[in-house]
């Protein structure tokens, strides 16, 4: 049986943020955006762990930028969502919307 890779809520949030940030999707802005949206402190280690899992599943790709002095000579690692990742996000959205619409208590509440 070919099981589709499951996305956790944190992985889904991270993928949406990477898509939103486009060419500026590296650790700091990704973590800041997640913090802003969830109102919780985010650990960069967790963000990287989620992104590495997503990369293993083939949903994101990463590449290293140039090292900069402000970062102590360390390079930025930029992420972007693959076509396969886009398909999985759309599929997850479709499933969540369908489930949302079938819960009468949530009628009128925008997902």
């Amino acid at each position: 049986m070919n099981t589709p890779s499951h996305l956790s809520d944190f992985e889904l949030i991270t993928m949406l943020v990477v898509m939103r940030l486009e060419d500026n999707a590296y650790g700091v802005p990704i973590a800041l955006e997640i913090e802003e949206q969830t109102k919780r402190e985010v650990k960069l280690g967790s963000v990287y762990a989620a992104l590495e899992r997503l990369e293993e599943k083939g949903f994101v790709l990463s590449e290293l930028g140039e090292p900069t002095r402000e970062r102590g000579g360390r390079a930025k690692r930029y992420f972007h969502v693959t076509k396969q990742g886009m398909r999985r996000v759309r599929e997850t959205r479709r499933i969540l919307l369908r489930l949302w619409q079938r819960v009468p208590k949530l009628e009128g509440v925008r997902p």
């Binding site: 049986m1 280690g45 083939g58 360390r74 390079a75 690692r77 693959t82």
Partner: protein
């Protein structure tokens, strides 16, 4: 948080991060933490982030995919080791040897290797089938691909075993043939098979 920080981040924390998180992945993370600190985050934030990252790296190391084959093979080895002392199957297989020896050399040797390889292949097929089933990738093609590697490993190990015994007996190391046949060689084959299975399962990233 929004006030830029002119201080340097705690050096000890950076040093710990670079030593105790995966090489190749820690530099961008360390750079992100330095950038975050310089954007006005506190030293306690920096320390929390570093300790969390080291903890995550440790958990990933223990539970990570690369360690699963080793853990599974060790478990199979322990199980086979426990069964080796009790089972009567191996003596029955070894009892077939005298019949094999009636065949002229080198076919007797080939038959002996084939007999023991077939016996081990049954054990390893069960173990690998269970592994593939647990990792939700039990497909005939995957199992056959893994078994091809396993049979080659088993046959070549069984062919090399008599030479190993001769070599080690000359340096006074006492070995038990049955233990090697029933535990060591199948465990190594399970380890290589699970590694191969993981390679088959690793998804290839889609284009762009």
């Amino acid at each position: 948080m929004t006030t830029p920080n002119s201080l340097e981040p705690p050096r000890l924390a950076t040093w710990l991060l670079e030593r105790f998180s995966p090489a190749g992945k820690n530099a961008p993370l360390a750079g992100d933490l330095i950038e975050g600190f310089k954007q006005g985050r506190s030293s306690s934030w920096y320390w929390r982030q570093v300790l969390w990252a080291i903890g995550m790296a440790f958990v990933n190391l223990v539970l990570g995919k690369q360690w699963r084959p080793l853990a599974y093979a060790a478990g199979c080895g322990a199980l086979l080791s426990a069964l080796a002392g009790r089972g009567s199957v191996l003596p029955r297989v070894l009892a077939l040897y005298p019949q094999v020896y009636r065949i002229p050399w080198p076919w007797s040797l080939v038959s002996q290797i084939a007999l023991i390889t077939a016996f081990q292949a049954v054990i390893v097929t069960f173990a690998l089938g269970a592994y593939l089933a647990f990792s939700h990738s039990l497909r005939t093609r995957n199992l056959l691909r893994v078994l091809m590697v396993v049979v080659v490993v088993l046959a070549s190990s069984n062919a090399a075993l008599p030479f190993l015994f001769v070599a080690l007996s000359s340096i006074s190391v006492r070995l038990t043939y049955g233990w090697f046949v029933l535990v060591v060689i199948p465990t190594v084959a399970v380890l290589l098979g699970t590694w191969q299975a993981n390679r088959c399962n690793t998804p290839r990233p889609g284009p762009g």
